[in-house]
């Protein structure tokens, strides 16, 4: 008697399409978290630099917690405890919230470093021309400090993109989760992990190339 039923089937072109869609979800959740987290992180970095007592006492330890606790623990805790506080977020929403805070905690220190890199004498020179505090931040500190810490920021962004794989533990079907589903069905982990890895690379590589070109154009 021949076996008439198989639980497994081969990897096919539809699966490739399935992974592609998952890669778009990875890109989307990363893009959102990195953008929001960067804006928030720059603000935090500024607050840390200005060293207002409140920021040093409350913000700095809080950011340390988010930087130090493994992301996977933060995700699971937030996803399960948010409903208790009346926040009913789907896996995507929870993922964005935690990834954004996590990104902002990392970017905060990068941003503070950027502001420190500009240095008081240069800022004094700007202020001596009648340039206001906010104009100084906008026209002097942001462009100069931003360039100084841009490579560090790219590192954070690429890291967060890869870390977004952890949102899969909440059931969000991004690249890693999608490959796990396919591996279960096809029993071809080697092939599928290579394809998934290639997708991650395809997402990261343009960013690092673009960043490298940007840095080159700044170097004059």
């Amino acid at each position: 008697m021949e076996p008439s039923l198989s639980f497994f089937s081969d990897f096919n072109i539809n699966d490739f399409w399935f992974l592609g869609q998952a890669a778009v979800r990875t890109l989307w959740i990363s893009l959102l978290s990195i953008s929001l987290g960067t804006v928030l992180g720059i603000f935090f970095g500024w607050a840390l630099y200005e060293g207002k007592l409140a920021a040093t006492l409350t913000l700095a330890p809080l950011l340390d917690v988010f930087r130090s606790v493994p992301l996977i623990i933060q995700l699971v805790l937030f996803y399960n405890f948010a409903p208790i506080m009346g926040l009913n977020l789907d896996p995507f929403g929870s993922g964005v919230v935690i990834l954004t805070i996590y990104t902002s905690a990392l970017v905060a220190n990068v941003a503070r470093g950027g502001i420190e890199a500009v240095g008081k004498p240069l800022r004094n020179a700007a202020r001596s021309l009648g340039i206001s505090y906010w104009q100084d931040l906008r026209y002097i500190v942001f462009p100069i400090g931003g360039r100084a810490v841009f490579p560090a920021w790219v590192g954070v962004a690429l890291g967060v993109m890869k870390d977004s794989a952890l949102v899969s533990v909440l059931g969000y079907v991004e690249l890693l989760k999608a490959s796990q589903i396919l591996i279960t069905r096809t029993q071809e982990p080697f092939l599928i992990l290579i394809v998934a890895g290639a997708f991650y690379f395809a997402l990261s590589y343009p960013i690092s190339r673009y960043a490298a070109n940007l840095e080159k154009s700044w170097a004059q």
């Binding site: 009648g130 340039i131 462009p143 700044w218």
Partner: protein, 240 residues
């Protein structure tokens, strides 16, 4: 006119300026000499409002610089300042360095600001470096750029804080020449300097600072020819 009355400045427990009284009239060139740590640079920072003061008053064009209601950004437009480190904005070309403040502080249009910048670059002899970035300029050129940048705001006063001290010896001349040019054009200048020949030849008055006190002020011939204070004599003997 710049009026300084009984000015006291502390850095923590350190008493840096101990009751300075000084008036600088329109068109006057004042050189401030003295050894490092005598408080002469701090004086400039206080005049510009970059440092707070603890006692006394600084009045520029009848405006009390350190009064609470004073808009420092407005006062500073009237006082150009040139620092020991030239502090060019590294991400902007020479012309953009000079045009920035007229554009964002005075609200000039891009074309107007560029025109002002070009005329000031010509003024300091940098017209051939208009589109160069600061890292392609020598120290002397960057310092002249800093002077052009300050002049673009059409200040009534120029404050020079050891403008040539950080320069290689062969680059000092071009910056001093630019400062001389300004003096000849009638700019009111306070120059903290270690260049005794500049102080002697260009200034109307020379002030000698020692340990936070203005020990002596007078014409160059009097300060250099017949100094009254013991400290002045010792200082001049050392720098000569």
């Amino acid at each position: 006119m710049i009026q300084i009355r009984d000015l006291h400045k502390y850095f923590g427990p350190l008493h840096v300026l101990k009751g300075i009284n000084l008036e600088v009239k329109k068109g006057e060139v004042l050189s401030v000499i003295g050894s490092s740590g005598s408080g002469k640079s701090t004086l400039l920072y206080c005049i510009n409002g970059l440092e707070t003061i603890q006692k006394g008053d600084i009045i520029v064009n009848d405006i009390h610089v350190h009064a609470k209601q004073t808009n420092l950004n407005q006062v500073r437009q009237k006082m150009g300042m040139v620092f020991q480190q030239w502090n060019s904005f590294p991400h902007l070309t020479a012309v953009e360095n000079v045009a920035l403040a007229p554009k964002i502080v005075k609200g000039k249009s891009k074309a107007e600001a560029r025109k002002i910048a070009l005329s000031q670059l010509e003024h300091v002899g940098l017209l051939d470096k208009v589109d160069a970035y600061p890292n392609a300029l020598s120290g002397g050129q960057q310092q002249r750029l800093a002077i052009a940048r300050a002049l673009a705001m059409e200040p009534d006063y120029m404050l020079f804080d050891e403008a040539t001290s950080a320069l290689d010896p062969e680059l000092v001349g071009e910056v001093l020449d630019t400062m001389r040019l300004l003096a000849e054009e009638g700019m009111t200048m306070i120059c903290v300097t270690h260049e005794m020949s500049f102080a002697r030849d260009v200034s109307d008055r020379v002030a000698f600072f020692h340990d936070g006190v203005m020990e002596e002020i007078g014409s160059p011939s009097q300060i250099f020819g017949a100094p009254q204070s013991e400290h002045t004599r010792k200082f001049l003997a050392k720098v000569r």
